[in-house]
Symmetry: C2
Subunit: 483 residues, 2 copies
Amino acid sequence: MLPASVIAEFETIVGTDGLIVERSQLQTYECDGLTAIRTVPSAVVLPRTAGQVQKIVRLCSLHTIPFVARGAGTGLSGGALPAAEGIVISFARMTSILSLDLPNQRITVQPGVINSHVTRHVSPYGYFYAPDPSSQSVCTIGGNVAENSGGAHCLKYGFTTTHVLGLEIVTPTGDLMHIGAPSLDAPGYDLTAVFVGSEGTLGVATAVTLRIVKKPEVVKVLLAAFDSITAAGQTVSDIIAASILPSAMEIMDRLSIVSAEAAVHPNYPQCEALLLVELDGPSIEAELQTQQVHDLCRANGAWEVRLAQSEHERMLIWKGRKAAFAAAGRLAPNYIVQDGVIPRTRLPEVLEEIGRMAQTVDLRVSNVFHAGDGNLHPIVLYDASIPGQEHIAVDLSLRILRLCVDLGGSITGEHGVGKEKQEAMGYMFSEPDLDTMQRVRCAFDPQNIANPDKLFPRPRLCGEKTGPYTPHPLEKAGVAEFF
Amino acid sequence: MLPASVIAEFETIVGTDGLIVERSQLQTYECDGLTAIRTVPSAVVLPRTAGQVQKIVRLCSLHTIPFVARGAGTGLSGGALPAAEGIVISFARMTSILSLDLPNQRITVQPGVINSHVTRHVSPYGYFYAPDPSSQSVCTIGGNVAENSGGAHCLKYGFTTTHVLGLEIVTPTGDLMHIGAPSLDAPGYDLTAVFVGSEGTLGVATAVTLRIVKKPEVVKVLLAAFDSITAAGQTVSDIIAASILPSAMEIMDRLSIVSAEAAVHPNYPQCEALLLVELDGPSIEAELQTQQVHDLCRANGAWEVRLAQSEHERMLIWKGRKAAFAAAGRLAPNYIVQDGVIPRTRLPEVLEEIGRMAQTVDLRVSNVFHAGDGNLHPIVLYDASIPGQEHIAVDLSLRILRLCVDLGGSITGEHGVGKEKQEAMGYMFSEPDLDTMQRVRCAFDPQNIANPDKLFPRPRLCGEKTGPYTPHPLEKAGVAEFF
């Protein structure tokens, strides 16, 4: 609980209608998309301006109050989970488009703006905003920045970090900073790149300048049905080797095809592996590449290759893919969506191993895969009403992550580390790696109040000595060979 | 001077043939491409392995010896300038290609590998390395990483930072770290992006994993002659608005055309503004876009539009452009190549203002311009034998930089800050901006020994308090409105 005097100061900053302190109302903010962990915050403040955010953060710094920024709360790794003694800074009232600069193809928005609203705003001028997480109709740009969100089209267009040109941020010590620059190669350190994906641990964005992209002349979507994941995976490699860069390449396995079909009836062919390829660009180029992809699918044994004949068919194909997570609910009462990265070429062996691991503990795992960039989403199906099964499912999902790392991949492709994967960071990074990151964190946040106890396996005290190299006793003898 | 015992330890690490301490030999290392400032280092060490680099840096940390890494010494901002009491770590003996991974389109090299050798190595397989600074036949990948080097083709392909997938580095405290990851969105902070372009202030790279790109099917080069810079600039805007992304777009003004012609006879049309557009990609697409660019040039009043008819013609056109700096030597005994960035759309007014400023001090300035990304290279011509003229030229070149910043641009597009533009950083960034960058620096380099006294206007002591927000006395009274 915060002292009444501090609450009163928050109220002075944001007004009575911008402050939530009632327990029943605070419960709305107890978790994000990772519902397994819940903590009710001490207060929620809803600023309207960057100036108010700065005052809020300064007050937090003055009284050492932890804070976490929150957009739509759709994150899947607990990044927006509050601290019990801390506050939530909600961006629900900072939803304005601040400026649009068409000649330079950029737009500046407040962090509470919804992802798909950016595209809606620039669409009349022939532009779109490229990163498209599945939650794009709900999630906010601020949250996308925190998590460096991806989406099916990041294969061609890149993650959020590729599209953030500049940021206005409030640092955890209450400074208002402008990072990024009008030019592509700004002098000094590239702090924009560090801030994007820092999961709220380096401060709070109050304005974001985004790159917008010209809408392609045409968009083509192909579906191909294969008898094996190996054949579908080989086709993906062949497409890339042919210098074709589709805007998206997705693979779904039989279980995810079945559940998508049951949920939204996308009329997918029933097969072992479905490959979905989207191509966009100038008509003349897309037509040619569509034919090439068609031929590569056939050459790898696809027994059906279907080109969407209308916008309706195209949307239906995507609807099935995007429904894959929710549709898992039809296969089992509960499920965990995991998010790992593997080298693209190792997909068949990874899926085989996941199948083996699942069988050993008598669970089922369905798989959807951003095949172009190696981002795998295994969906671990289970029934929480069976005693002990949830624990087994969590354990399996973590072992799948270790498998990804062991094969040269990563513990998260796009969902972030947050609260969920803190411990896994220790498996992926060495001590010096994590230590350097933590020291960067301390450079921004010496008090450890910006979304604390996230991202890293253990908090690091910023006062800890970061002095020069301390030699081993043998070195002190001056024997360089023993270094 | 370093104590004999320390010199002996360096010798133990790199061997007699890997150590330079003779004054006459050390003079080779007294400056890089910025020849105006010279300092002879105390020693030069030439390691062969990452392990040796680590031992060298640990020794430096132990004795608080400043160090700077050096590739080919072609940098233009004094980034490789040594400290008198410090050492140079030369990468002249770390020039190996470590591994090539074609399916994943990546290559890992030692930092001493020359830029163009990367392309030479992967060319037989149909790939190339995209960043192409003018010095690419000499400069090294390590230097490119330090400066985030660009080149004419960065408009389409991006700067060095876009192409560095991972790094092995030795931190200034002597830790060997691996940053970057196999996936595009690695968890944790994006330290790769911070390291690239950090100009040697965060440590030394010992291995670099680069992205390689498939060679385009065809490359087309168009030359267009205009009667005004405004018309050429408008054409550039029109090309981009038409969703065409050329691999390069360059503008040269009359003075630079004249000097290039005199130097290498590229047979340029004599005009006020020459626009050079290179298009690459699949044949079918490049043909179409070449026609579109041709039409846009004509629509903006180009009185000659010439398409290179052979590889020879294409190389000749580029030879003229790439010779622009050296050719300035034909116009005046001395010259300063400046490097600023402006919003693309403001080119005509900037060039007009530069002309006015030059006239006022009775000097001439020729201009070449990476027009697509707004990177301007004014070449200030002068005669150092005329008393006072060098000073006037330097002053003019700095005032041009201020002009770039005032118009919303930047103090450097691709040459870096180094020693040359330390003071200009204070004009471009606010105190909190610089302070945050310096704290990031301290996170890596608490002793301030990694290329010290570069990049920032004044060194910051890493021990300086970086505590929480300290309120103004009025705030202490709890009056939030006075924040």
